[in-house]
């Protein structure tokens, strides 16, 4: 089994497609429909890399990013958004993401971005011990 990738995407169909392409790519994807569902699951600590949709019901992608960083997640985070405007880009850049993906994106570009992020990472889960 490959490395654990956490995907937060509220569109179920897109979530399943991303999960599919990441698994075929040899990775171990986990998809959550909202930021809250991820935080409640406690599985954030097991992730090597995260792909966060920016527009989410409730807590959005940026807020989730900030929460994860506060709780000690140091791994690469990739943002995905359909609202590729200046505001969103600025907000993303402030958080130095591993990648910023503008929807629509292909499965290959998603895989490439995730692999690129992981390649700059040590093999262990990137959770700093508090």
């Amino acid at each position: 089994m490959g490395r654990r990738i956490v995907v937060v995407e509220d569109d179920a169909s897109l979530g399943r497609a991303m999960e599919r392409v990441l698994r075929v790519g040899g990775l171990d994807p986990r998809v959550f429909g909202s930021a809250e569902l991820l935080l409640e699951s406690g599985e954030a600590s097991s992730a090597c890399c995260m792909v966060l949709d920016v527009q989410l019901p409730g807590l959005d992608g940026f807020a989730l990013h900030d929460r994860l960083r506060e709780t000690g997640f140091t791994g690469p985070i990739i943002f995905a958004t359909a609202f590729d405007d200046r505001e969103a880009r600025t907000a993303a850049e402030q958080r130095s993401p591993a990648a910023f993906m503008s929807k629509p994106f292909t499965g290959l570009s998603l895989l490439a971005a995730v692999r690129e992020a992981l390649s700059r990472m040590p093999a262990d889960p990137p959770f700093r011990l508090a």
């Binding site: 169909s13 497609a17 392409v21 075929v24 929807k103 629509p104 292909t106």
Partner: protein
């Protein structure tokens, strides 16, 4: 006659009453009667005891003419002491004095009754008919009272004059007196409250009259002048009557009468050249000819003046009506073809009045060529069918070349045989109305585009989701195939997912096309639940972005009739309006509830309830006005467009503030079938 007498009988039947100012009336009657009697004695033709006119009777007549019948008794009572004082001085037996009193009062009563019975005019001297009635009343009163008078004289064995000779002289003297004094007194009292006009001119005419009389009647010099000199005062008399009405005529005539009688009685002036009896007859003939002429002239001049005045008032009112209704009115004389336009009529369309009157001989010159058949058809049909009314709508060319939309309402004037003699048309400029409708349509379009702008981001998000999913699935499938581990089930699952996302994308595209197309109304039978779901789905991304939760609660609904795009637009606008309203409330309170249920009227009522700031007091009536907004960056079009579209679809839209917070918007859609 009976009907005319009714008010008189009512007045009398109400019984005698003093009424206000009775002392003044009594004093006036007493004084005037006494002075009249003294004047009558003064005006006798010395040395014969021949009075050409006896004023006291006229004083009573005038007083009764100006007073309501219920107060005539006051006149009768007040005159008695004056009568006794003046008559008893002459050493006449009391019985004779009292008899004369009865005949004097009788004459006044007869005259006043005849006038009251024959005319309802308050001032009989103001109309020609009134003057005619007055003259008739004088004759009646003089003839009838003189029978009594002479009978009393004979019964009292007073004097030796034969009955009929005495009767005739009494009749003429009484008519003359009434003619001279009643108008002079009554016209002034009846016209009290109306200022006497043109004092300078009055001074000139009455000064001239006095001078003329002085020369003609009161100088010994005039005795030798040709007889025609009696005409000298006539121009002044006519002048006074024509220019100053009954008051002018009465006053001038009384002046002349007094002067002429006094001078003739004293043997001076134009009518004093013969024996006293002949002179007296000359004077009476002169006065009887001139008096009625003056009264008629004054009355007809007065009527003419009032007619012109009321015509002016009516004309002014007519102009005000035209201005108030902003209607352009024209009249065409069908015999001569002459065309008349209301004063500002052509100016309304930018034409100068004189130029346009010269250039346009027919309304057809101004009508848009395309509309000409439409403009004339209704009128021609009305003319041919013998109807009197028609209506038409067409365009009229303005001076600047543009066209005004007008609504014409016409009326055909017909003679007694039913032939059309002229027609009158009133044009209402409906351009503004038409422009407003066009603007509303453009705004509806613009609003859809604005909503599109607002929605563009949402739609991009919405459509990018299935596209992203498809792209990921395609790559997953390709990668699976490359590994050679791909099973049929894996591939089927992926293809199904791709089809589903494709359908989702095309559905969204369909919505966009529907919103953006310029189109005409298409009424169809609709499922409002499905429509609401589609609209909510469109609004959902924006709602998420703004942290707004949309709750929907749709009951089982009957099918409705309406334009799908219109109703989608209405609901979208209300959703965006609700979201805007909750911009400043905490995220957890940003809940927008959409509900649809069967309304009382049989259709469906949709409600959109927000928890925002609500509608401020006093602004409720204006919220559906165009360009009215309470939002810092709002255009004020959303609700106005919603209103327009709901109304166009036969529904109703309204809003109310919630008891707790925010506002609820309602609109109805009529049921299908």
């Amino acid at each position: 006659m009976t009907r005319a007498l009714a008010p008189l009988l009512v007045a009398v039947s109400q019984g005698p009453r003093l009424g206000p100012g009775w002392q003044r009336i009594a004093l006036f009657v007493f004084a005037a009667y006494y002075l009249g009697a003294r004047l009558g004695l003064t005006l006798t033709f010395a040395p014969h005891p021949l009075s050409v006119l006896w004023p006291p009777n006229a004083v009573l007549f005038a007083a009764m003419l100006v007073l309501p019948a219920g107060r005539w008794w006051l006149v009768v009572v007040a005159a008695l002491p004056a009568h006794l004082i003046s008559e008893l001085q002459g050493g006449i037996p009391l019985t004779m004095v009292l008899c004369w009193y009865v005949s004097n009062v009788g004459e006044a009563l007869i005259g006043a009754c005849v006038v009251r019975a024959a005319t309802a005019e308050a001032n009989p001297f103001a109309t020609v008919r009134g003057v005619l009635v007055f003259l008739g009343a004088c004759a009646c009163a003089a003839v009838m009272s003189s029978f009594l008078d002479c009978a009393f004289v004979v019964l009292n064995s007073w004097g030796q004059t034969p009955y009929w000779t005495m009767w005739l002289s009494r009749v003429i003297a009484n008519i003359t007196a009434d003619l001279v004094f009643v108008p002079a007194i009554a016209a002034w009292i009846l016209a009290r409250g109306t200022p006497f006009p043109r004092r300078d001119e009055a001074a000139l005419v009455f000064g001239g009259l006095a001078l003329a009389m002085l020369i003609v009647f009161n100088t010994a010099l005039a005795t030798d002048w040709p007889a025609a000199q009696v005409c000298v005062p006539v121009p002044f008399l006519l002048w006074a009557a024509f220019r100053f009405g009954p008051r002018g005529a009465g006053t001038a005539f009384a002046m002349v009468a007094l002067a002429i009688i006094w001078s003739a009685g004293h043997g001076v002036g134009a009518l004093a050249s013969r024996s006293p009896v002949e002179n007296a007859h000359s004077v009476q003939l002169y006065l009887l000819c001139i008096g009625p002429t003056l009264l008629f002239l004054a009355a007809s001049a007065d009527q003419l003046r009032r007619g012109v005045e009321s015509l002016g008032v009516s004309e002014k009112r007519f102009q005000l009506v035209l201005e108030a209704t902003r209607e352009v009115v024209y009249e065409r004389d069908l015999a001569s073809g002459a065309l008349w336009w209301s004063r500002d009529g052509l100016a309304h369309f930018g034409y100068s009045r004189t130029g346009a009157l010269r250039d346009f001989t027919s309304l057809a010159d101004l009508v848009h060529p395309e509309d000409l058949p439409r403009a004339t058809a209704a009128r021609e049909a009305a003319l041919a069918d013998g109807r009197t009314l028609w209506e038409a709508e067409y365009r009229v060319r303005r001076a600047n070349g543009t066209y005004a939309h007008v609504h014409e309402k016409g009326f055909i004037v017909r003679d007694s045989q039913g032939r059309a003699t002229s027609m009158i048309g009133a044009l209402t400029d409906t351009s503004e109305h038409q422009d407003t409708e066009e603007l509303a349509q453009r705004l509806a379009q613009a609003s859809r585009l604005t909503a599109m702008g607002e929605l563009a981001a949402s739609i991009a998000h919405e459509i990018n989701q299935p596209i992203s999913a498809i792209l990921n699935n395609v790559d997953a499938a390709q990668a699976l195939m490359e590994t050679g581990r791909a099973t049929d089930d894996d591939m089927r699952e992926i293809l199904d997912a791709i089809r589903e996302d494709d359908l989702r994308a095309s559905e969204i595209v369909g919505h966009i096309r529907g919103l953006a197309n310029k189109r005409t109304t298409q009424v169809e039978t609709l499922d409002l639940n499905a429509l609401a779901r589609a609209v909510i789905r469109l609004a959902l991304p924006t709602a998420r972005r703004r942290g707004v939760m949309i709750q929907s609660n749709c009951a089982t609904l009957p099918p409705v009739r309406g334009d799908r795009i219109h109703l989608q637009q209405v609901l979208l606008n209300l959703l965006f309006n609700g979201m805007d309203a909750m911009r400043d409330v905490p995220v957890e309170d940003r809940v927008l509830s959409v509900a649809a249920e069967v309304s009382g009227a049989g259709g469906v009522e949709v409600t959109v309830r927000d928890r925002g700031h609500g509608i401020p007091d006093g602004q409720m009536p204006r919220i559906f006005d165009s360009f009215f907004t309470t939002k810092p960056d709002g255009m004020g079009l959303g609700l106005s467009i919603a209103h327009t579209l709901v109304t166009a679809n036969g529904g109703r839209i309204w809003a109310q503030n919630n008891p707790d917070s925010g506002a609820t918007f309602h609109f109805t859609v009529p049921a299908a079938g």
